[in-house]
Structure formats: C-alpha cells, structure tokens
C-alpha cells in the first residue's frame, strides 16, 4: 500500500523550472531513498511535501495515507505525521535534550510544564533511539551525531508516520553514520516509513528498499534496491552518464621532503589541562597527497587548525619545518606567507563571505597580490577571479555573482581559488568534498591531482574512507589526538584503518 504518492509535481521559480512532473511513490513501511546531484530538485520536492511551499504554489497532486493532502504550512504536514529533519539541525543549543524534544509540544497543564512527565517521556524516547544521555544535558554539550539522534527522538515524540531525513549523515563519522542507519532499519521494523536523501550511495544501498533518482527536476528512474543494486547503476542515472571511475586515474611520484611537523602538542582552548593533540609528528613530500583518517573528535581538524596560525587551542608546542627551515606559524597571516593554506571543513561559516561576490572571496586571503601600496587594483582583481573561474571551471555567469547563490561544489571551488591565489606550498584540505555531488567531487579530485603535479604538498582530511583510499599516497590514522598508524596507499584498506583506530 502506498503511504505517499506525489503525482506530476511541478514547481517554477522566477526564471527556473525547479521540478518538472516529478513522481514519488513511497510504500508503507519502507525506506525510500531520493538521490540526485545538488540542484536536482530533491530539497524543493521535500519542501513541497512538508508544506514549506504551500498548496497552490506548485502543480500536481499529493496523496498521503489515502487522502489528498493540501498543506498550507509545516505544522499542517506535521499534524498529519510527516516530519522532516533537515541537514542543518533545528535544535536550540542552550536548551536541554528534553526541552528540545518537546519544544512547541510541551508536556504541560495550562501552561505549566510537567517536568516529571517530560523527563519520563524523554528517557523512553532516548532509549528508543539508543542515546545514553541524561534528559537534562544541554544539546550544546553533545556531538553532532548525538544531536541527530535527539532530532529523531523529537520526531518520534510526534507520532510520526513518515520520517524524512535530509542528508542525515553529512556531518557524521563513519561509525556514527552506521549507528544512524541501523536505527533507521530498526524504526522500519517498528513500522515507521522513512525517506532518506543522501549523497552517500553506499548508505543508500545499505538501508533503502526503493530508490528514486531525480535529475534536473525530473524523475529519472525508480529502482528496486531489495534485489541488490550497484552504486554504478545509481550514479549512471544521477549524472546521466556512466561513471566507471569515481576517482581520476593518476600516477604520482612524490619528491623531496616539504613539510615536517614535529612533536605537536595542543591543549583545549577552554578546558585547561585537557590535551587535544598529543605528540603528533608527520611529514609531507612535494607532489604528495597525504590523508588523515580518523573518527570525528579524533583531533584532525584541531591538528590542522592549530598548525594554521594557532586558529585552535592554546599552549601549542612543537615545530613546523618547510623545506627544512623552521617556519613561524603563530598567526594565520604568518602561516599564509610561509606557504601554508587551510581549506576549512565548513565552507559556509568559515570559508566564504557569503553575501559577497566570487571576486571578493577569491582575493580575500591575498589582497597584497592585487594592490599596490594598499590601494586595490580592481581590474587586476577581476582578472585573477576570471582566471580561477576558468581554471577551476566555476560554473557561474560572472565573477560578480554572490557566492551565496552558488551550488556547494562551486562554492568549494571558490574557496579553493582563494587559497590557490595565496600560492601555497602546502594545502591542508579539511573534508574538501563534504556535501557536494558526484560530478563536482570528481572535479575537485582532479584539481587536487593537478596541485600535486605542480609539486605542492596536499594534506587531505576526510571522513569518507573510500575518498582517502582513492586519492592518497599515504594515510595517517588518528585517534584521540594522536597518530596511531601510517599506511601506504597499496597497503591501506577500510578494514586496516578501522582496526588501527579500534586497537589504538
């Protein structure tokens, strides 16, 4: 029996046809995956389903639970049991878990909250999602993975009939992701129907019963995943072409020793006495791509940011050598001028000034390169931005486009352009392909290979192990702030990396 049937949904924005007669049928009790490249129209479809775009602003029919549904807003759809959990979590960090779960839905008698009932129900829900935290814990104090579970507990508190998860594992570690996916399967066993939107095809294969592929605002295919489905099949439908190689073929020959970090120690910026990075030493050769694998919280980002101008931590000890000379990386601009660049994992809040243009962002880290005597030469600036637009294939009508309007992949290219313009010798890339689609990932990988060919050293931090295995010459494995192993490309496998992490 179909729980949900969206028929011939079309939606136009001024100048763009976002959805063109899209069909989506979700059976009762299944996990249905909706996949597609960024900008394919998945989010728009979900916004229509959840009432963000109200009935009347689109064409087509929605049948939910056997009856036509015409949602005017989100609370309409929630009342019917359709709950959407967005990529950006909608929790209030300063409130406790129980307060968040019952936010807007408080267990109260005439406005007075019944705390005993609230906490009792919270404990039940937390047990259901497998989260061992006290209901009074502040959401701020738990990690992203656990926050995701709180969101699901919140959805369960509302008598959910259809649970929609939008990129639920985008910010999660491999093992947290796995836990979440297992929870989805468990909820399915309890009769909850869910829709998952994801870029990670291995996860889609793991949980989904049915896959709907959307491309350019149209339904391309509806695949049955129960019988087994290969990632290549899905990718083919997503991009409209066969993608035999997810990673560009490449031969590399690393040269001389470029970057050497020795005995690096970092303490937590607030909790004095808590050491975040312990005695880390590593090296990068010219023309080499070095990966850093590890779980979230293992200290990878902290390591990178503490090296990059002490952007994280305090009481930092250790030495950094570039080309055998010790360099001063005590501030960000010193690190930049020494030849180190760091591409953050969070391009929106740490990488870009979103309300400004591509040109503005491209030159931001090297304004000296486009000015004389601190007066900007704006024509030079335009030339630089145009050059990178072409070199990195940033898809935009002009470099005067605001970066907020770009897709994730193009935003990431702008961030890369900014750092390439500083002409670094070593680039540290933190989750360089997070949240961007398959096609754009491939392009980013190609750029990384080109950089290595030019003799630059690349450090790549990633939570996606296939990516590290596909791209890196060597992989360091990090756990709890220390390096626990080093693998050459040919010896590395997901299993070996995981066993290094687990065994310490």
């Amino acid at each position: 029996m179909a729980l949900l049937s969206m028929q011939d949904i079309s939606k136009t924005f001024p100048g763009v046809k976002a959805l063109d007669q899209v069909n989506l049928d979700v059976q009762q009790g299944e996990i249905h995956a909706v996949v597609g490249e960024n900008g394919a129209g998945k989010s728009t479809l979900m916004k229509i389903l959840s009432g963000v775009y109200p009935h009347g602003s689109y064409n087509g029919e929605i049948l939910f639970d056997g009856a036509p549904a015409q949602f005017a807003n989100i609370s309409d759809s929630e009342r019917q049991g359709i709950i959407i959990i967005h990529q950006e979590l909608a929790l209030v960090p300063q409130l406790s878990i129980s307060e968040n779960i019952f936010l807007g839905n408080e267990r109260a008698k005439s406005g007075v909250i019944d705390w005993r009932e609230t906490n009792r129900r919270t404990e039940q829900l937390l047990a259901k999602v497998g989260l061992a935290e006290a209901p009074s814990t502040l959401v701020d104090n738990i990690g992203v993975g656990k926050q995701q579970l709180v969101e699901i507990a919140k959805a369960l508190s509302k008598q959910v009939k259809l649970l929609i998860l939008d990129e639920p594992t985008a910010a999660l570690q491999e093992n947290d992701s796995r836990k979440l996916l297992d929870l989805m399967l468990e909820l399915k066993a309890q009769g909850v129907t869910s829709i998952i939107i994801s870029h990670k095809l291995n996860e889609v294969r793991y949980v989904a019963d049915t896959v709907t592929v959307i491309r350019d605002g149209m339904t391309v295919s509806r695949l049955d995943a129960k019988a087994g489905l290969s990632e290549d099949e899905i990718v083919r439908d997503m991009v409209g072409r066969e993608m035999t190689h997810r990673f560009p073929e490449h031969q590399r020959s690393p040269g001389k020793l470029l970057l050497e970090v020795r005995n690096w120690d970092v303490w937590h910026p607030e909790h004095t006495g808590r050491q975040v990075i312990r005695d880390v030493s590593f090296a990068v050769r010219a023309g080499e791509v070095v990966g850093i694998a590890g779980l979230m919280g293992s200290g990878r980002t902290e390591l990178a940011m503490s090296i990059f101008g002490r952007s994280y931590g305090r009481n930092i000890l250790g030495s950094v050598k570039l080309n055998n000379n010790e360099i001063d990386v005590s501030t960000v601009d010193k690190a930049i001028s020494a030849g180190i660049s760091y591409v953050t994992e969070d391009r929106k809040s740490l990488g870009l000034v979103l309300d400004e243009t591509i040109r503005f962002n491209t030159t931001l880290a090297n304004l000296e390169g486009v000015s004389s005597g601190s007066v900007l030469k704006r024509n030079d600036e335009t030339k630089v931005a145009e050059k990178f637009k072409k070199a990195l294939a940033i898809r935009t009508p002009s470099v005067f486009q605001k970066t907020v309007n770009l897709s994730g992949g193009n935003q990431q290219k702008v961030v890369l352009a900014k750092w390439l313009f500083t002409e670094p010798e070593v680039l540290i890339l933190d989750e360089p392909t997070r949240g961007i689609d398959v096609g754009a990932k491939y392009e980013i990988y190609t750029i990384i290979n080109d950089l290595a060919d030019q003799g630059k050293g690349v450090v790549m931090i990633s939570s996606e192990m296939p990516e590290l295995l596909g791209m890196c010459d060597r992989i360091y494995v990090m756990n709890e702030g220390a390096l626990v192993g080093e693998l050459n490309a040919e010896d590395a496998s997901q299993e070996r990396i995981m066993s290094l992490i687990v065994n310490k």
Partner: protein, 417 residues
Amino acid sequence: MDLAQSDTNPAPQVKTKSIGQYLSSHLRQYGLLFALIAVMAFFQIVTDGTLLRAVNVTNLLLQNSYIIIMALGMLIVIVSGNIDLSVGSVMGFIGALAAVMIVNLDQSVPLTIVACLCVGGIIGAAQGYWVAYWKIPSFIVTLAGMLVFRGLSLWLLEGQSVGPFPKEFQILATGFVPDIFPVSWGDSLANLLEIRRVKHVNMLALFTGIAAAAMIVWIGLRQRAQNRLYGIEDEPKIFFFARNTIVAAALIFVMYKLSLFRGLPNVLITMGVLTIIYAFITETTTIGRRIYALGGNEKAAKLSGIKTERLTFLAFTNMGVLAAAAGLVFAARLNTATPKAGFALELDVIAAVFIGGASMSGGVGTIIGAVVGAFLMGVLNNGMSIMGIGIDFQQMIKGLVLLAAVIFDVYNKNKQG
C-alpha cells in the same frame, strides 16, 4: 526619418526590459536618491521656497555637518559588525574639554584642537580595546561609554555652560572660505543674473561646484568605460546619464546657492574632504576591503589571515577621533559648551547610517549612502522645523522614516533571495 525609425525602433524594446531588471536589482541606491529629491521637493513646495533659499541651504549644511562627520566613522563601525552608542556623549565631552581648555585655562586654539582629537582617539581606542580583544559586545561597552562620558562632561563643566569661544575657534564651524577670485567677477555675475539683494556672487563656491560636478562625471565615465572593458554588469545608459546629470546639477545648484550667501563654509570643506577620503578607504583599499570581510563573516576573515581584532580596534579609534572632530565643530557652532550637548545624537547618526543602506549584521553599507542618509534626516529636520511642526511630531516622523527605510531594505533582499 523612415530610416531613423527602423534603426531605433527595435532597440528600445530590448532595453526597456533590461532597464526594468536593472532597476529592480539596484532599487536601494536609486530609491535613496529619489527619496532625498522627493523630500526636498516636498518641503520646497510646502515651505514656499524657504528650504532652498541661500541662507537655509548654508544652514542645512552647517546643522548637519557634525552628524555627517560622525556618520563616516559610524558606517565603518557598523560595517565591521559593531555599534557605537557613545558618540553623542563623547562629542559633548570633547566640546566641554575644548571649552575648559580655551575659556577656563587659556590654552591656544591649535593646541586645544590637537589635544581634543587625541583624547577622542584615546576614548575610541579604550572602548575598542574591550570590544576587540576582550570580545565584550560593543553595545554594552559603548552603552557604558555613553553614561561615563555624559557624566564626565557634567563634571568637567560643573553643570554650567562654558563660553563664549574666541573668534579663531568659532570659524571652525561658522567661518567661510574667502573668495580668491576678483570681487568684480562676482559683482558682474550678480548684475548679469539680475539678482536683487545679492551684491556679490562668491565665485570660488560656484567654480568649486562646477569643478566637483565635472570631476564626478569624469570619474563616472572612466569607471563605466573600464567596467565595459571587463564586461562587468553596467547600468543602462539612460540611468547613468540621468543619475550623473541629477547629481552634477544638484551639486552645482547647492554651490550656486552657497555663492549667493557667504560662499563656502569651512565645515563643508572639512566634510567634503573627509567624505572623499573615507569613500576611498572603504571602496578601494585593502583595509576597507578587510573591514567588509570582517563584518560579512568574521571567522572566515580571520582564517583568511585578516587581523580582525586590530581592525575592530582601529574602527573604534577612528570613530573616537571623528566624534571629537564633530564635538569641536558643534561647540564652535553653538559658541558654548553645554552639559546637554550631543544628547541622543548617536541615535541620529546611527539612523542616518541605516537609512543609507547599512545592515545591522555588518558587512554591508557605503559611505555615500550614509552621507545621503544623514542629509535625508537633515532635510526632514530642517523642513519640518520651517513648517513649524512640533518636536513631538518630528520625532515620530523620523522614527517612521527609519523603519520604512529598513523595511524597504529587507523587502528588497527577500525579493531577490
């Protein structure tokens, strides 16, 4: 005739559409200019031409000079993502300091001016230090500063007004630049135009106006040519010429009016030069660019190697110096320092900056916008006073104008987003 028509007919059709699109995406800039023109036209009519009489135009500039001087600094503070509530008090305090130094302690005028500007800088730096390096919200720090400096001026003046100032101090605000051209030129022009009551036209003011207008048009043309060269989205020809004609004509008109009274006020020169300097700094220097980046996304700016703390510190220091300059002009204009001087003026300054299109969250705003915003408020004040509208209604109307301007901004942004 036929040929010409067939040539020109298809073109306008295409253009009309692009003009419409251009207008809707740049509504804010034009809206502000049109609002200023509309408000001036309105008051010119309802005050029976009093608004644009030579004396009143001069007055309008003098009355708003200190607001504009402070708006320049405030724009930078607001673009950097902060706010400064203390400027009214600091302005009053500096006026009091100047009065005590000159009138009570018999210090020389130049020494007093230098000392006052330095003290302003130190005040700004002291506040900026807490905001920049201790991350204390600027709202709190400057709210504290507002109280402290209000109290300090009361203490310094012992609750009394102190004045009058010597002539050489007064000319800061009320002086005029002497005409360097032969008097006979001005006389003959006055005769030629058959202006009664005016014996002499100040040629310096007139020529300065024409020169400035020519300069603006020239810079605009050059910019436009360069934009075209790089294929940057350009404003339609009609808009470019209409805008430049209006601005140039307005400039010449204002200068002409000034020339019929006493010529160029010293304050106008100060104001004009400062506006040009600050517009240049914000638009075409690395430090200006970095301030926009700081306000747009502080964390991203920091990770791009920008010394965000130092910039915030400098923004407040600069604000202090400009508040001091405004304080000197204000005291010189009133010819006395009173404990109430500058009271609630920070709100006018902040309002001017927001009317000029700056964003509360930082990263957005222009010097020209802030100056035009300040003028808009000034014309409203002046026009309503001439009409004899009570201070009660004046406050209400100003409040509603501020709200309307910001609503217009937000509406525009939503429509585009």
